[in-house]
Amino acid sequence: MLDKNQIAQRIAQELQNKWYVNLGIGIPTLVANYIPKGIDVEFQSENGLLGMGPFPIEGTEDADMINAGKQTVTILDGGSLFDSAMSFAMIRGQHVQLTVLGAMEVAQNGDIANWKIPGRMVKGMGGAMDLVASAENIIVAMMHTNKRGESKILKECSLPLTGVGCVKKIVTNLAVLDVRDNSFYLLERAPGVSVEEIQQATEGNLIVEGEIPEMKL
């Protein structure tokens, strides 16, 4: 079973050279810590920053330099700053090759729900709806089940949707899944997790073909 950092580490293996990447808040943010050697990627923050660097050294933080999670950040040499219309032009125009974000639920048709729970305070979708409607590659970082042990990998989403038919890949604490043909294809197991455990934790249609390898981290 993976912890949050390991989920991020596994997702980082999906990064391809020369990709621009938008990382959502939470586990996705951690992906930046595990960029594979030899891979050049640039991180986009949708509030208006390309070439996002690490957090600033204490004492150098600047109120005018934050990321989409409102955290103080730095900008790398070769980065650029722009307004929010330009930022979402990049996203909507598919210039950002990969979006990594969290989810409350994913359905086997690729639907994703991650912004609203009826009856609870709704904070808003921020840029998530633009990101999922636009990105060619969307990887969801999430726990396979909720706190009550119920699957979040579903036949159909029960929560209000963020986007339809858009999720291509999921990395959970238990497995790596491809989402296609109205099914979840099991690609890899987390270390020490059996196919049966994954089947049990998956409500949606799970396809298991041949031997399923363990993830390498």
């Binding site: 933080e61 934050i66 955290q71 840029g127 339809v164």
Partner: protein
């Protein structure tokens, strides 16, 4: 050159009234028009519609207008970080229209650019698209989104000149340039107001044509919401 300078925030806000629709720049607490917001809080105006990506925190930014119940409706993409907002929203005192961030940014730009409507894929198939026209372009579904119609836009820049030209700093740019384009009256407060000729015309982010009033702001707090360091 056309001179846009007003002497202070009081003069800059001449004409604001209850029931109006405002745009306010900023992302989180970054790049918000602090002086204009403080002055709006002092005015006896209410029933405002505020278009702003976020709603501030309880005691800073738009949160101050919420505390005084001056806002009737918020149009935003994300409104967390604010207990009073939550209370008013759940009790039904406050109307809230949540809009995908990119759609919000593009609708602001469209307002200023004379584009009454455009198609975007964001929100298709979700409740955001309910009641809206949708349409297939090259096999992908899109939603028709419209421009706004704000009476005032309040923006904050790093530097500005007397002709209204603005330069923003870092990620404090965010929604400010598009909102500056969109206001029937756009009020710009700047950290540093300079004479014409001091800014490089090749580096202006917002040309002065979009700004009706500009003033030198003061006492900037520039609060940091999430101070993260290495």
């Amino acid at each position: 050159m056309i001179n846009k300078v007003v002497k202070n925030v009081e003069e800059a806000l001449e004409g604001v009234a209850s029931g109006m629709e405002f745009m306010l720049g900023g992302f989180g607490l970054c790049g918000i028009p602090e002086n204009c917001i403080s002055e709006l809080v002092k005015r006896e105006i209410s029933d405002l519609t505020c278009i702003s990506n976020n709603a501030g925190v309880d005691d800073f930014g738009l949160g101050q207008l919420l505390q005084k119940r001056q806002i009737k409706k918020m149009i935003s993409s994300y409104v967390g970080e604010n207990d009073e907002f939550e209370r008013q929203m759940l009790s039904g005192e406050l109307e809230v229209d949540l809009i995908p961030q990119g759609t919000l940014a593009e609708r602001c730009r469209a307002t200023g650019a004379g584009i009454p409507a455009f198609y975007t894929p964001a929100g298709y198939g979700t409740e955001v698209a309910e009641g809206k026209e949708t349409r297939d372009f090259k096999g992908k579904m899109h939603v028709l989104e419209h421009a706004f119609n704000p009476e005032f836009a309040f923006v904050k820049a790093w530097k500005g000149d007397t002709a209204g030209n603005l330069i923003f700093k870092g990620t404090a740019r965010n929604f400010n340039p598009m909102m500056a384009m969109a206001g029937k009256i756009t009020v710009a407060e700047v950290e540093e107001l300079v004479e014409v000729g001091e800014l490089d015309p090749n580096q202006i982010h917002t040309p002065g044509i979009f700004v009706q009033r500009i003033f030198q702001g003061k006492d900037y707090e520039k609060r940091i919401e999430q101070r993260t360091v290495r």
